[in-house]
């Protein structure tokens, strides 16, 4: 973040601006989306960290640590959780309409819970299968592709990912906006399950302007689906929607997945 911007945000939040400067800053906040973005991030970081380092947070941590110690020693293990489900109510009188309704409702709820619970696992499978079927073997590109790229592809197809990465990196160092180098570097990292680096290269690929066919967004989504941590699936869905909206490379597959996950 630009130091001048931070200085202005800091001065504004600390009430160290004259009335005139304040008015200008507030007008800038309304009209300059970049300044607004930086301002929001600054406040988010400051608020979150103030919360994290607050005495309240420390006191709660202490309470929970004490309770954790107490109960991890004391609590007897209950292995009957599977059988003693308190939520299942017994129907006392044989009322068949109620029984059938209850069974139907239960079936629908179990089905819904199944789809909700297992959707993340499914999306990981979908992405892994797609990767295994479509991206573990790359076709040698035609035309004026650099020789290093061809060598990289050959190494990739032999699953010699470290060598492949070296070839692709060589091209990338010479030309950081080489779309093939970015794509293949991302795929190589993905093959090695280094999701952070894979995502970063696909992100750079996505940002390239004027590319006739850009699979960057679609590959970003695949990376998140394969990693499947935290909010990955939610974010992958957003990316897939964007692929479909832009009719970008991978849009057909993206549409199919959006119906499934």
């Amino acid at each position: 973040m630009d130091q001048n911007i931070i200085d202005r945000i800091d001065a504004y939040l600390n009430d160290e601006m004259s009335e005139g400067e304040r008015a200008i800053f507030e007008a800038d906040l309304e009209n300059n989306p970049e300044l607004k973005k930086q301002y929001d991030l600054y406040r988010e970081v400051d608020n979150s960290m103030s919360h994290l380092f607050s005495n309240d947070t420390k006191a709660l941590e202490e309470t929970l640590t004490n309770l954790s110690e107490k109960y991890s020693k004391e609590t007897p293990l209950n292995s009957d959780f599977q059988t003693n489900d308190p939520k299942i109510k017994q129907i006392d009188k044989p009322n068949y309409f109620r029984l059938i309704s209850a069974l139907a409702a239960m079936f629908i709820m179990i089905l819904a819970a199944y789809f909700l619970f297992f959707s993340t696992a499914d999306s990981q499978d979908l992405a892994q299968n797609y990767f295994a079927e479509n991206l573990t073997e790359l076709s040698q590109t035609m035309g004026n592709s650099e020789e290093l790229i061809q060598q990289g592809i050959a190494a990739y197809n032999l699953k010699d990912y470290n060598s492949a990465r070296e070839y692709f990196e060589e091209v990338w160092k010479q030309d950081p906006e080489n779309s093939e180098a970015l794509k293949y570097l991302g795929l190589t990292y993905l093959a090695q399950k280094d999701f952070e680096n894979a995502f970063s290269f696909f992100e750079q690929l996505t940002a390239l302007p004027d590319l006739y066919s850009n699979p960057g967004l679609f590959y970003q989504a695949i990376t998140l689906m394969m990693r499947n941590e935290g909010a990955d699936v939610i974010n992958a869905k957003e990316l897939l929607k964007e692929v479909v909206r832009q009719n970008a490379e991978g849009s057909k597959q993206a549409k199919e997945w959006l119906d499934q996950i």
Partner: protein, 190 residues
């Protein structure tokens, strides 16, 4: 309408030791059982439970938190997700008992769980990027976030007030830059 178990969320916010003791008594053993049956230790279970509660607390304090299902079910869902992530990182595939509980939760509960995770991930990124700053930056920012005024921070660090202010601004610029250039920044929806 919040679920009656919302009282436990309030207990986390207020550090109500009596209610939190009740919370542990009622819900900890189930999580412990899940962890022990799935390649974890008692220590793992205690850490997992505590981290999940802290995650709920962070979300409740930093934005909002309305529980619409029993805490029992919500905690199980949060802990299960976290534990799967731990196992994935440990590359342990011997998961056998994680799908034994069937809860019929509304979409809002799933959304709330995802939001909790998003908050957790944001805070983890902030904490990890803070450690990449120089020592004096870390110390100055921590003192300021601990609630000290900049006059007090300047005094504690033996700086002039003007220098401490300037330094804080520089440190924040470095920190926000580190955060924004992290590959996962965009996935955290800031």
């Amino acid at each position: 309408m919040p679920h009656p178990d919302q009282k436990y969320i309030e207990a986390l916010i207020k550090n109500d030791k009596v209610l939190l003791d009740e919370l542990y008594k009622k819900y900890f053993s189930k999580i412990k059982w899940m962890v022990l049956k799935n390649n974890g230790s008692e220590e793992d279970a205690a850490d997992l439970f505590q981290e999940s509660l802290m995650g709920i607390y962070h979300k409740a304090k930093l934005s909002d938190f309305e529980l619409t299902c029993p805490l029992d079910a919500f905690l199980y869902m949060i802990c299960k997700k976290k534990w799967l992530n731990v196992l994935a990182k440990r590359k342990n595939h011997g998961v056998t008992n994680l799908e034994d509980q069937e809860y019929n939760l509304g979409e809002d509960s799933f959304r709330l769980a995802d939001e909790c995770q998003l908050h957790d991930e944001r805070l983890s990124l902030l904490k990890s990027k803070l450690t990449e700053l120089g020592e004096s930056c870390q110390e100055l920012l921590k003192l300021s976030w601990e609630g000290n005024s900049m006059e007090e921070v300047a005094k504690m660090m033996d700086f002039t007030y003007g220098y401490a202010r300037k330094k804080k601004s520089e440190c924040m610029a470095k920190l926000t830059k580190l955060i924004q250039t992290s590959p996962i920044f965009k996935t955290l929806k800031w």
